[in-house]
């Protein structure tokens, strides 16, 4: 790996990472809008005014930097390694999705588009896009699976309050995978007037790039916070993040990818689903085959024929059969390690973290906390584990109440 390049730029001329993940498997109609967006984004990311504008909104609108805290009680309770959290859920709106949404709205404004559409699973990508769209004066439509609309009500309500139109998707499994498909189909029909925001680091290459470039703010803040906390980068550091599409993990890891993996281990936690289920949303952990989903080659849950498989997870945000091509690449070159956590263990982790600490992670990062809780006791005290607490539990209150009997925040 060349040390200087950002991970998002480590693709070949056909937009493949490691020669085999990513690319643009898209209908002809989208070729030009995607080329146009690619050119515009390259121009903007090298433009000082645009960067200043981005940083202005990251600071004053999103509220950067988000806190970096030591989880003293949890660490004491578990023993072993010290556990820290980067509390990204403190960002405006309550999750990391705000970075990508804000950047997409800024780009849409530059391109002169008046409409923006996006997909959502947990509802955070949709909520943030609706917020940012309102802020920047864009009309917004959000595609969301009918099943997710039912299970993520607080975010649905927020989207409506922000003036977004929610389009329920009733095809297929009625979750994120179908919402992304339907949003892309909508864009095929309306790409002349409408900008599209893909909610994670998935889809045609340019969407992966814009998203990871936006969420990278998390690690830019974190590297400074680590240096100020420890005086240097610790010798044994593990960065633990849940992965569905993989946008928060790539943002959390970006500045650390070029470090030696013996010093900084990157751990991605996929959704294992209910303990007895076979429908794990964990293509990396379970060695799924390479296939094409939403315009990109990736490890994806599918049958022999190439039909995309169904998944099941308590967390809507991780309930996706594919995974960012960049994560596939990081797995292949063994830079990151991927594992899965069950619904039950994620709930237990939520219970423990929210009772011992002042943070209340949503079910997505609860998967990452579960992994930290699992490995910490086996490690010595000089090990530092940092979990990206990338979402707030409020959106999950119905599920948590149902599963644990109560929810307090």
């Amino acid at each position: 790996m060349k040390k200087s390049k950002l991970i998002i730029d480590k693709h070949d001329k056909n937009f493949f990472y490691g020669g085999k993940f990513g690319g643009n498997f898209i209908p002809e109609t989208l070729k030009k809008p995607i080329d146009d967006l690619t050119v515009l984004f390259e121009k903007l990311r090298n433009n000082r005014n645009f960067i200043e504008q981005r940083d202005y909104y990251f600071k004053n609108y999103i509220g950067s930097p988000t806190p970096f805290i030591y989880l003293r009680n949890l660490s004491k309770f578990i023993g072993g390694a010290k556990i820290y959290a980067k509390v990204v859920s403190e960002a405006n709106g309550g999750a990391h999705k705000i970075y990508n949404a804000t950047v997409h709205c800024l780009i849409a404004k530059k391109s002169g588009k008046k409409y923006i559409v996006g997909d959502t699973g947990a509802g955070y990508a949709g909520k943030m896009l609706s917020m940012a769209a309102k802020k920047f004066g864009l009309k917004c439509k959000i595609f969301m699976g009918a099943k997710d609309i039912k299970r993520q009500k607080p975010n649905v309500k927020a989207m409506r309050e922000n003036g977004a139109e929610i389009i329920p998707v009733t095809t297929g499994s009625q979750t994120l995978v179908d919402a992304v498909s339907e949003c892309m189909r909508y864009w095929v029909s309306n790409c002349d007037s409408t900008a599209m925001c893909v909610g994670s680091t998935v889809g045609p290459n340019i969407f992966i790039k814009i998203c990871a470039w936006s969420t990278s703010q998390i690690s830019r803040e974190l590297i400074l916070q680590i240096k100020s906390e420890f005086g240097k980068i610790p010798k044994k550091l593990k960065l633990i993040n849940c992965v569905g599409g993989g946008s928060s993990a790539l943002g959390f890891w970006n500045e650390f990818i070029n470090y030696d993996k013996n010093q900084i281990e990157l751990i991605g936690v996929e959704a294992g689903g209910p303990r007895n289920s076979k429908l794990h949303a964990a293509p990396l952990t379970n060695n799924s085959k390479i296939g094409i989903l939403h315009g990109a080659k990736q490890y994806v849950i599918q049958d022999k024929e190439g039909q995309i498989g169904k998944t099941e997870s308590i967390s809507a945000g991780l309930d996706y059969p594919g995974i960012s091509p960049i994560h596939c690449y990081l797995k292949d070159i063994k830079r990151a390690r991927y594992t899965a956590i069950s619904d039950e263990d994620a709930l237990e982790a939520f219970k423990l973290v929210s009772s011992l600490e002042k943070i209340s992670p949503s079910l997505e990062p609860s998967h990452a906390f579960a992994e930290a809780i699992k490995i910490a006791p086996k490690l010595k005290k000089d090990n530092i584990l940092i979990v990206n607490s990338c979402g707030d539990s409020l959106k999950d209150k119905d599920i948590i109440k149902k599963r644990l009997g109560h929810y307090s925040r």
Binding site: K32, S189, Q307
Partner: protein, 266 residues
């Protein structure tokens, strides 16, 4: 070897009419019925397009999604698609047949295996929705080796420079997407404008057979009959859905509809 697609277009040109292409999904609403539909509509359809269903289509509208869903629910596998094609071809040896679908299914089957199977099943052409030019160059070349026509797609957003490249690498048939839409959208562009774009492509190379698809129904088809060929798909898929809802036989219903479509372009 005779080129069935090229021959068919020549035949239609002699008759001073566009070729009529129909699209239905293999296995909709089951294996037998879908073969019966093909046999029946081939009485009027000049070229048969047979979709191989995918459960995560990014460019299909509601009607084709529904057809694909029915087919998959009926248990259709890619080998069944080839079986249907083969049976159809043994019924009408010289009737051109084109497969249409998404690349992941080809990828999982293996490009070479897929094309071998195309050849032994009598498939004459292939349309892949999500493998645009120039990424499709190597697969298109392979298709040629197996005497399968790789149908390149051009859309209203295709730039002139791209168009030239696409046409240069195209085989005997090119597909022009009439408007910015998924399949099955309402025709939102005037036929005059569509034909203007059509002519732009023809001016680059008039020898290529250029068909227009998306938004074409019994209502709109006659206004576009200057084209080399016209594709009707979603209307047929919707008709299957409707006949199933109404307890009617989709075979007779589609036969009538395709007959009517043909009548409008003669």
């Amino acid at each position: 070897m005779i080129n069935l697609i090229e021959n068919k277009f020549r035949e239609c040109k002699k008759e001073k009419r566009p070729a009529l292409l129909t699209y239905t999904v293999a296995g909709d609403n089951n294996k037998n019925s879908s073969l019966k539909i093909l046999k029946s509509i081939s009485e009027y359809a000049d070229i048969i397009e047979l979709g191989f269903p995918h459960n995560t289509p990014i460019a299909d509208g509601g009607q084709i999604q529904e057809s694909s869903h029915r087919a998959l629910k009926a248990g259709i596998k890619i080998n069944d698609v080839f079986k249907i094609a083969k049976k159809f071809k043994s019924y009408k040896k010289n009737h051109p047949l084109i497969l249409m679908g998404y690349y992941n299914l080809v990828l999982q089957y293996g490009e070479n295996n897929f094309l071998k199977k195309c050849k032994t099943s009598g498939v004459n052409g292939i349309i892949i929705v999500d493998l645009p030019w120039p990424e499709n160059k190597s697969f298109a070349k392979k298709c040629k080796k197996f005497s399968v026509c790789y149908v390149q797609l051009i859309s209203p957003t295709t730039t002139l420079k791209r168009m030239k490249g696409i046409i240069k690498d195209s085989h005997e048939m090119i597909y022009y997407i009439s408007m910015l839409s998924t399949t099955g959208g309402k025709l939102k562009v005037s036929s005059k404008k569509i034909l203007k774009n059509y002519q732009k492509i023809k001016n680059i190379n008039s020898a290529k057979n250029l068909v227009i698809g998306f938004g074409i129904t019994t209502k709109t088809i006659s206004s576009l009959k200057l084209a080399d060929g016209l594709v009707v798909g979603s209307q047929l898929c919707r008709s299957i859905s409707k006949s199933l809802e109404g307890g009617q036989n989709p075979v007779t219903k589609l036969n009538k509809m395709v007959k009517n479509l043909k009548r409008k372009i003669i």
